[in-house]
Amino acid sequence: MKRLVNILVLSFCLQLTGWAQAPTIIGKDNTRQGPFRINGKVSDFDSRESLLGVNIFVEELSTGVVTDLDGTYLLVLDKGKYTLRVSFIGFENKRIPIEVKGNGKLPLRLKEDLLQLQEVVVFGTNPEENVKSADLGKSTLSIKSIEALPPLAGEVDILKSLTLLPGVTTVGEVSSGFHVRGGGADQNLILLGGATLYNPSHLFGFLSSFNADLISDVTLYKGGIPARYGGRGSSILDVRYKTGDLNAWHGKASVGMVASKLTLEGPIVQNKLSIIFGGRLSYSDWLLRTTSDPDIKNSSAQFYDLNAVINYHLNSKNKISYSFYQSSDDFKFSSDTTFAWTNRSHALRWDHTFTDQFVFSASLVNSQYNFSILNDTGINDFQLGSDINDTGLTLDFNYNFTETNSINFGGQSKLMEINPGKLDPTTSSSSVLATDVEDELGNESAAYIQHTFDLGKRLTVSYGVRYNLFRYLGANTVNRYEPLLPRTEENIVEQVTFEDGEVIKQFDGFAPRASLRFSLGENSSIKMGYNKMFQYIHLISNTSTIAPTDVWKLSDEFLDPEIVTQYSVGLFKNLNDNSIETSIEAYYKDIENIVEYKDGADLILNSNIETELLTGKGRAYGVELFFKKKQGRLTGWLSYTYSRSERQVVGPYPEETINNGEWYRSNFDKPHDFTAVTQYNISDRVSFSTIFSYSTGRPVTYPSAKFEYFGQDVAYYDERNVNRAPDYHRLDASLTFSFNARRKLWQGDWVFSVINLYSRRNAFSVFFDDIPGAPPQAYQLSILGAPFPSLSYSVKF
């Protein structure tokens, strides 16, 4: 408390002196008139965290710049007096008079605006960025804007928030997989603090496993993906951590319906070394008890996640950070079968500044994921497990020739090890035979370069290339098949053994990236983008969404890398002094070597999995319309997407062809998708938010006939995904009471939310069954069938 008073007093004084103060003089007297370079870092007054996306506006020139990922900015000004206006969402605005006499530095510190919570909430980036930068298909959500949305069971959910953006869809209400511009759920690279996450879900997708209290912002690249990213075909989701407060200890605690969270941060060494760590622990069993299904009543579910981030400011040129993450789920089903999965990652990063223009970072990351099923029923007890371990090194260089001319280059190498499945009997009486599918080893390396520059006032060009090299390595045994026959177990002619580290198969390729911006005026621009992506790891799943039982598989002799080529174009226009942002984007995507499965494929513990896999091609296209109001009491956005996603699989044999070789809809082809997000500030402390979503129902295969076998009616399917589930729509609402949180314990944030306000029963799936006592018919399963209210409370201290 005392600290707070100090800060208030201090800042008050600073402001007073600020008004009285003469302009800050930058640079030594210089005979030249300029241009001069003024740079610096913008950080949080309290925590010294660098702030990304801070807008620095030169009033006299009506131009501005924005701080980059490291919180640094660069202004190029001629000699003279100026007034800088510094603004950032959630922070107090600042006006700084300066006098430029030469090149110089101007570090800036902004205070968090405690009394002005969530006034301007929508994304945490520069108001002009969407028109001024060459980025397209990129969305950044600040954690504040995610927190303002109605939460499910009191948990702020990053992945669910993403599905509100244009071009991002999900197949069901409770599923962790999401689809970006018609790509598969495994085509998204999810990075947390730089490390890959393989299954970011708790409770089988009911919640995502990110603890929002430690997250600073989330960036999704849907198109125009920079060359420094690669490895997945459709999108990159970059989730970045906060950095801990370098000055004082404080924390946040929250209590929700199914879990509680605690986060603490502070300096270990004042102004040098900070830590932020947090944990979340569940108590969701009561939710299971409310069911009428006896199997679920007797189940118990536990999950937790832990994060820790350490930042060490060695000196002004060097910074080292380390982050640790672990999330774990344990679902004991009916007290005798346990499903458990764990994600763990370490990321070590070194940032070095050679000169103001030349910065470098190196990061070493390790990610692990494992999944297991423990059967404890007393009959044939077993344990089934699979895991992934990947370790990678990235070196990244950034050289800024000028403010508008920069180059980014670097290299990456990653070793991936997958154990696709291991089965062990757990009792001596169990007749389960120990089985271990051979481990897979792969090395994915890349070198990249990207150059971004302005060509005149109107044109910004960014072009680059990423060279990928993937090697599938031994030790492994590879089957050879009869060349002219279908690839089945009977047609294996020999098995070839490869030594440890021996290269079994190698793929390489150039992935060009380009984007271009052309200004049509002060507030509008046209952008074009092209990107090609290679993907060497595939999710082998016979289910409709990401399930924990799914196994990942590397590209090998039988499975070529997925290659995704995307062309996109967009028109961006800001209205009303940048307070309203509008855009139209269109894209076309061509996907080669999509993984599909033979009918009735047997994927678990299959040593000859290539006998069950098929490859095909895909195409996706769409138009995304976006309208966002960023200021005022009422903020929010409207988005509408028209998109299609289709596939085609033609093999030499009928069993290797799907849908008679015709194009068919992918499982997540949902042409119309509309979202309306609003937030209304009733007063400074009370706000009301709603989300309304509508989308076309997802494709379903309806039977073309029924037949009788073994006395039961069975549905017969021929053409795939021809029909659709009923349309999806839902309204969520929440009411937030924010009190100045640093005074007394009971004064925190109260969030009351109702998900599915008007009780829509959306079809999670449609299936066909012959249940005794009813004719064989179609049924739909809905998971959220009633309004789901929840209350959560959080307090900062």
């Binding site: 299971l288 409310t290 073309s704 549905a715 009923p726 009780s759 018919q777 959220l784």
Partner: protein
Amino acid sequence: MKRILIIAIVLACGGMLGACVDVLDLDTNREAKLLIVEGFISTQNGPHTVELKESAKFGSIFEGVISDVEDAKVSVRDDRGRVTFLTETEPGEYQTPVSFRGVVGSVYTLQIVTEEGVSYTSLPEKLESVVALDAVSTAFKSTPSRDTDGSVTERSGIEIFAHFSDPEDQVNYYRWRNSGLFELNTNPAGFTDRFGRPAPKSCCDQCWISERDESVYIYKDNLTNGKEIVFPMGFVEDDGMKITAKYLLVVEQHSLSESAWQFLNTLKGQLEIDGDIFDPPPATTRGNMINLDNPDENVIGYFIASDVVVDSLYLRPTDLERRKQIVNIPDDCLLVDRSATTDRPSFW
């Protein structure tokens, strides 16, 4: 895998989230008329039956009627050129002579010529041998289950396990088919007419009813090759009628070819679809039957040739840890089931 599922649902009808299964009214205008073949021969004495039907529109029971395919010429040919003709004993049901028995190691094909003159044949199906059953054991099993109306009932009964030694030198595929015969006692003297007035019947208070378990029990030994295997391959539910006196369970252990196993496995998957996220996508149920004139025509069904070993045992009320209330039937025992008979089996 089946059990994972419900988890994802997390909550069933009436739960906090109100998860629910609803009937979906949909209109499919598509209708495929396909030949359905359910063919089976074994090393046991005949008659063996091949059933021919035609598929119908999926929808309400009144819309599409699965019809029998009558007056076809059906024969089984072995790899030595011997042809056995089947005779139609009931509409769509074709039977081999009683004397027909399959031989281990022989290769059989099923041939069908429909009344319209369309010829179908099965791919050659080799009859593989099956190992003997070392034992059949039982255990009481009770699982709470949710009815379609959301109420919870306790399903209990006797689970059946096959014990056998899997041969080490090859991949084996197994299937089990169970049938039962039980004694039922009713109370015809307590019969009342439709106005509720006593109208005692004189017959019959005791009968024997036979039944067949149509569930698909199959097994592939890839994860247990060469071991002593104990596999749950049957369940007799205690419904207050079946296990009140004595229940004779006949267990057949069958060999299967790999492709027959695959067909049954796909069929089993389709029969078990219940809408959860772990469901397999709908699959086209292909079999081993083809139209000789038009190989692209889809034919549903499989002609299976199996070696069979048989075992039997009696289940008694004393095998049940907890017994369900005995159902009192105030009527003629023979009306309970079509298969009911008053002829006491000689071995009873």
